[in-house]
């Protein structure tokens, strides 16, 4: 468990955060909360622990509850640890029509995990998500920041092999 003493943004991230706050009128810096949570998630292990959210509250000079209620609302914020490689397969209408379920079944078998689970080596987390705006190139999955489209079983196999040797966690900084 990370202790709050260790939770400090890198200088680079702090610079980004400071610049970000200038985008908003005076006194409206809370607007930076969502972008800062993305940076925090990327920097502190791919998820938002309570101490991380408390740290963000301190930076923005707002109450911790204001951070918790936002972090728990948006689906991109992970409130539990995830694997180094977060695989999100779209399953809504067009993707379903074009075979998303087969993609999900295949990844489940290949990684020996079910949707929502993380592999025992902490490498992969598999999620089924709602429409990612890639309907014309269905089926698709997002891994880290990247879109992988027009998927086939063969393409998924190649990607999974590639991801084994890559850190796909840092995606929003």
């Amino acid at each position: 468990m990370t202790t709050s003493e260790q939770i400090v943004f890198s200088k680079e991230s702090l610079d980004v955060v400071q610049k970000m706050m200038l985008r908003y009128p005076e006194g409206k810096h809370k607007s930076a909360l969502i972008p800062i949570l993305h940076i925090a998630q990327a920097e502190f292990g791919g998820w938002l622990s309570a101490p991380v959210m408390d740290y963000v509250a301190v930076i923005l000079k707002i109450q911790p509850i204001e951070v918790y209620e936002v972090a728990s609302f948006y689906s991109m914020f992970n409130l539990k640890p995830v694997g180094k490689c977060l695989i999100e397969v779209c399953r809504t209408s067009s993707c379903w029509l074009c075979g998303a379920e087969d993609i999900i079944d295949h990844i489940e078998k290949k990684l020996s995990i079910k949707v929502g689970e993380t592999s025992s080596d902490g490498m992969f987390t598999l999620k089924a998500v709602e429409c990612l705006g890639s309907c014309g190139t269905a089926p698709m999955m997002q891994v880290g920041a990247d879109y992988h489209e027009n998927l086939t079983i063969g393409k998924v196999d190649e990607l999974l092999e590639k991801f084994k040797s890559e850190d796909k966690q840092s995606r929003y900084c």
């Binding site: 969502i34 948006y74 379903w96 014309g136």
Partner: protein, 443 residues
């Protein structure tokens, strides 16, 4: 009927770069407008153009702009809705990715008309890489004096920023978007007051879709009257259609409004027909929330007229036999498609995306998902179909924002036009065969 306005330079290599965009006439509309026009004229041209909001609601843009309150000493904002999350819709992503400067030029022109010194492009968090493309384009525009102080020597100052969301369909609703932009949960606000009076930070604000704002550039280039001659009737101009599902050529197409639906589906210029030469079963014409129509009603109206890609023609017959143009998310389903299963993916989506403020939506979306799941598991009854109908009818019109309707309409339309399929699933559960689709995977 092949006029292109937004994507006319889409084929040009590196059109996303400022230098290439300018070599092809980019920012000349802005330059001319700042030099010889004024905000009132810009508003007048947009009104004359008949442009209607391209995000889904189709509200006249000029009219929306004219509602903007202009109290002395209070800042006004333009916010671009790039939260594109309606299942079946991916046209804004395409436009921003390919021609980011068209959106930025439209943002500056619209802000000039509205007197907004600051604008924000609120983009869904999953489009992270698109946000980066926009930020690069904005940096180029600042460096070239197209953003910032005294733009092109006009005395007009404007700052434009990209704001990323974090995964919430509801933030495409304009007041939820503003809440999110203020660093809060995306809970829609009760209206009135409308954003035109009290929007971002309580200040007068216009929220427009990406495509709407981009369309301001060709409108000012052609003049509102000329733009209004393109299209058909009150459906003026061109529209980006996101075509997906069981078609040969999925993708984003810019159409002149008024193209026959049949031509759009079968012509090689557009979707190129149904995959594998199969028959058409149904179409969701304007994004997940609009009513699904069976083949016979999407190709022709109930009166036997050819159905056209326009606000009026798609709406012909009301919800009994018609649908809506919506966001232009055009999802095509072939003869083997399970309408019930597709509806289940919609119901699951709306349940996931309900913000939870209003009981009819929060509870109703969950119940609809559960009942559809029960039917698909082979445990449904005839009463379940009636219960689904009853639930959807009790959501519509009883919620703060239109997500309630968006969740209810697809359920109502599926039962209205495909009740037989629901009945066959509950009466003969063995009919619920393996309804997965393998077409793409076999290719």
């Amino acid at each position: 009927m092949s006029k292109k306005l937004l994507l006319k330079n889409d084929h040009i290599h590196n059109i996303h770069e400022l230098s290439v965009y300018r070599q092809n006439g980019g920012y000349s509309v802005l330059e001319n407008t700042l030099k010889i026009s004024n905000p009132e004229n810009v508003l007048e041209e947009v009104k004359k153009s008949g442009l209607r909001g391209r995000g889904g609601a189709g509200f006249p843009t000029g009219l929306k702009w004219s509602f903007l309150a202009r109290p002395e000493g209070v800042p006004r904002y333009l916010v671009c809705n790039a939260d594109e999350s309606e299942p079946g819709t991916f046209k804004d992503r395409y436009l921003m990715e390919r021609i980011p400067h068209l959106l930025i030029e439209g943002m500056i022109l619209s802000s000039f008309a509205l007197g907004a010194k600051t604008s924000y492009i609120y983009i869904r968090g999953e489009y992270f890489y698109v946000a980066r493309i926009l930020e690069t384009a904005i940096a180029e525009a600042y460096a070239a004096g197209l953003l910032g102080k005294n733009i092109m020597g006009s005395g007009f100052d404007h700052d434009c920023y990209v704001q990323v969301g974090a995964g919430a369909y509801i933030c495409g609703e304009e007041t939820a978007l503003l809440e999110s932009l203020e660093g809060k949960r995306g809970n829609p606000r009760i209206k009135p007051p409308f954003p035109a009076v009290a929007g971002l930070y309580g200040c007068p604000t216009v929220v427009n879709n990406v495509e709407t704002i981009a369309a301001v550039v060709p409108i000012l280039e052609l003049g509102g009257d000329e733009y209004a001659k393109i299209g058909i009737g009150k459906s003026t101009g061109t529209k980006l259609i996101s075509a997906s599902g069981h078609i040969n050529k999925p993708g984003v197409y810019e159409i002149e409004l008024g193209v026959p639906v049949e031509e759009f589906i079968y012509s090689e210029k557009y979707c190129g027909g149904i995959r594998g030469g199969r028959k058409l079963k149904a179409v969701v014409a304007g994004g997940s929330s609009v009513p699904i129509l069976p083949a016979e009603l999407i190709l022709k109206t109930a009166n036997g007229e050819p159905r056209l890609m326009s606000y009026e023609s798609l709406g012909d017959g009301g919800f009994a036999t018609g649908t809506m143009l919506g966001s232009g998310g055009f999802i095509v389903m072939d003869e083997d498609t399970s309408i019930v299963k597709n509806l289940y993916t919609f119901a699951r989506f709306y349940h996931h995306e309900s913000c939870g403020q209003c009981s009819p939506c929060r509870e109703g979306t969950g119940w609809m998902e559960k009942i559809l799941h029960k039917i698909l598991e082979g445990h449904g009854t005839i009463q379940d179909i009636d219960l689904l109908w009853d639930i959807q009818s009790k959501i519509e019109g009883k919620t703060i924002c239109p997500l309630g309707e968006a969740a209810a309409w697809p359920v109502a339309a599926a039962i209205r036009h495909f009740r037989n399929e629901f009945e066959s699933y509950v009466q003969n559960p063995e009919n619920i065969k393996d309804i997965k689709h393998y077409y793409r995977l076999q290719n």
